[in-house]
């Protein structure tokens, strides 16, 4: 039978009545709080008994204190005098228990109590959540700018979408924590004037919803990358966070044990968190770059390699929705077919590439084809995506390109493509290119016929295959 139990403390810093109630229930079940220096609280087995718990705050304490200060110990003595014994403390939060039937409460003046909580909150809770809130605001500004500039790159990437969802959850949690606190403080301050204490309400619903959304998003995200090398990077990122947390905690606890002064401990712990974060970021970047620039490595999805001109080339044999052979009477030998992309719940973007292999006997005669299909799963994003694709190729505002040589998408008759809208890329001096942007109901296709102009019949075949995607 286990004598030690650990439990996550889900309550907000200022919801002391809920914490007291939880601890009283735990004691009645035979578990006494012994340690509360992290979010996982430790309990030891005791005889089930009715105990009273009460929390007060000591604003001068810090998580970095090597040991309780004399004034903190003096406060404990005051409490002991009325039968309140210290069970555990978590930096400023001092948790006491009392075995008496009807003990004198620890806090008897709501004005003093509320102000003491607020003084403590300003030094810890509000600083932490305030910093998280500001970072999430800053991040939101950046992501909104990115979404306005390139919604496709944000929403067609499962990693980016997962990051967006995480930050939305973090922003919701910090906003709900801070607003719940300030709402309570405003009411409690007023009520204390009239001699009574308003009990806090914490935003548990928001936190649970945020947590569930992040977990579901993470599951969906990992499902999209299960067969992908990106899973390795996700595991590296999770490992990085775990190592940073563990190292920072180890440094802080070790320095505390060695009785290092609180300020020195704080500086060294913060410095360690920066150094270890940057060092691990460097390691991960190195791994990613090594993978990216390892020319000798073969892609997981390659069908094989061949030698040409002293170099090794990969070839692929993916199933493409449209092939040159569908439109032109040509043998399929000598081609490499590659289908790559990514998608999220909002958007997907896949690219099909059909290229002649350099080692093919008839290489010069082989026609190349490339098309990118953007699947818009949320109709509200359709116009933004279309505009991004049009503006991406628009050189009319690019001063580096001389007038007369600029390219732009020109609207064309959509009937041959059986689409809603069709644009063709035109260069001012050389005229239209075999490069089209074809807009269907829920997907947009950008297709390039390299070095050949498709006939009406060929366009009709392409339209049938691509329109049905």
């Amino acid at each position: 039978m286990k004598d030690i139990k650990r439990k996550f403390n889900r309550h907000s810093f200022f919801n002391f009545p809920a914490i007291e109630q939880d601890l009283e229930q735990m004691a009645s079940k035979g578990w006494m709080l012994t340690k509360a220096d992290s979010n996982i609280w430790q309990y030891k087995r005791i005889e089930p008994q009715k105990l009273h718990f009460s929390i007060t705050f000591f604003s001068k304490a810090s998580a970095f204190d090597p040991e309780p200060s004399e004034s903190q110990k003096a406060m404990w003595e005051y409490c002991e005098r009325t039968g309140w014994k210290l069970a555990a403390q978590t930096a400023q939060m001092q948790i006491f228990y009392n075995e008496q039937e009807s003990p004198m409460p620890l806090e008897t003046d709501p004005v003093v109590q509320v102000e003491n909580i607020h003084r403590t909150a300003k030094k810890s809770f509000l600083l932490q959540w305030g910093a998280i809130f500001l970072i999430s605001l800053l991040w939101f500004g950046l992501i909104i700018m990115r979404i306005l500039n390139s919604p496709i790159s944000v929403f067609s990437s499962s990693a980016n979408t997962f990051t967006v969802i995480c930050w939305i959850a973090i922003a919701a949690m910090s906003t709900s924590e801070l607003s719940a606190y300030f709402l309570w403080y405003r009411k409690a301050r007023k009520a204390a004037e009239n001699g009574y204490l308003v009990l806090p309400k914490e935003p548990l619903i928001v936190q649970y919803i945020a947590l569930v959304i992040v977990l579901v998003a993470f599951l969906l995200y990992t499902m999209t990358i299960l067969t992908n090398y990106a899973l390795r990077y996700v595991l590296l990122a999770i490992g990085q966070v775990a190592i940073v947390f563990a190292t920072v905690r180890f440094v802080m606890v070790t320095l505390k044990r060695r009785k290092v002064a609180a300020k020195v401990n704080m500086v060294l712990t913060i410095a360690t968190s920066f150094v270890i974060s940057f060092a691990l970021m460097g390691v991960i970047t190195h791994i990613i770059l090594s993978d990216s620039f390892d020319w000798t490595a073969i892609s997981e999805d390659a069908a094989g390699t061949y030698e040409h001109d002293g170099r090794t080339w990969e070839f692929y044999d993916h199933d493409l929705p449209l092939r040159v052979e569908d439109m032109v009477d040509t043998p399929s030998d000598g081609y490499s077919y590659r289908w790559t992309g990514d998608e999220s719940l909002f958007l997907g973007q896949y690219t099909g590439r059909q290229r002649g292999r350099y080692d093919a006997e008839n290489y010069e005669e082989l026609l190349d084809l490339e098309y990118t299909v953007t699947y818009v799963k949320v109709p509200a994003l359709y116009e933004m995506c279309k505009q991004e694709l049009i503006e991406k190729m628009d050189e009319t505002h690019d001063e580096r390109i001389p007038v007369g040589h600029k390219q732009i998408y020109e609207p064309q008759d959509a009937t041959p493509w059986n689409a809603n809208e069709v644009y063709q890329l035109c260069v001012q001096d050389t005229g239209p290119m075999s490069w089209y942007l074809v807009c269907y109901d829920d997907h947009i296709v950008e297709i390039i016929f390299f070095g050949w102009d498709p006939t009406t019949e060929q366009i009709s075949v392409a339209a049938e295959k691509l329109g049905a995607l």
């Binding site: 009460s54 007060t56 004399e70 004034s71 110990k73 003096a74 406060m75 003595e77 005051y78 409490c79 005098r81 009325t82 309140w84 004198m104 409460p105 620890l106 806090e107 008897t108 003046d109 004005v111 003093v112 109590q113 102000e115 003491n116 301050r189 007023k190 004037e193 001699g195």
Partner: protein, 107 residues
């Protein structure tokens, strides 16, 4: 409108300051207030500790002796003023009561 700090005193603040007319150990106030009020008023340990810290900070009391963790305090002139103002306020309230209900209603 929330009160300006110590502009008016709560009952417990008032009695803590009263106890410190003469030098007294902080912890002894826990017993003195119930004794002074026949048990009508009591002050919690957490509340007392925080009040003493804040009163010292506001220079309404000062430390007179430190013996290990035991500290004794005494009221300052500023603190005396505050208690006096509070008393005037309570007395004015009492006077208003009498004006409305008369002295015969007092028991």
């Amino acid at each position: 409108m929330p009160r300006e700090k110590f502009r008016t005193l709560t009952e417990q603040m008032f009695y803590v300051l009263l106890c410190l007319k003469n030098e007294c150990y902080g912890m002894d106030i826990l017993d003195r207030i119930p004794a002074m009020t026949n048990g009508r008023v009591g002050v919690g340990s957490g509340t007392l500790y925080n009040l003493l810290e804040q009163f010292v900070e506001a220079e309404m009391i000062r430390e007179t002796k430190v013996e290990g963790r035991r500290r004794s305090y005494i009221l300052t002139d500023k603190g005396r003023d505050m208690v006096s103002k509070e008393f005037q306020r309570i007395r004015a309230q009492a006077a208003d009561y009498i004006a409305v209900f008369g002295e015969e209603d007092l028991t």
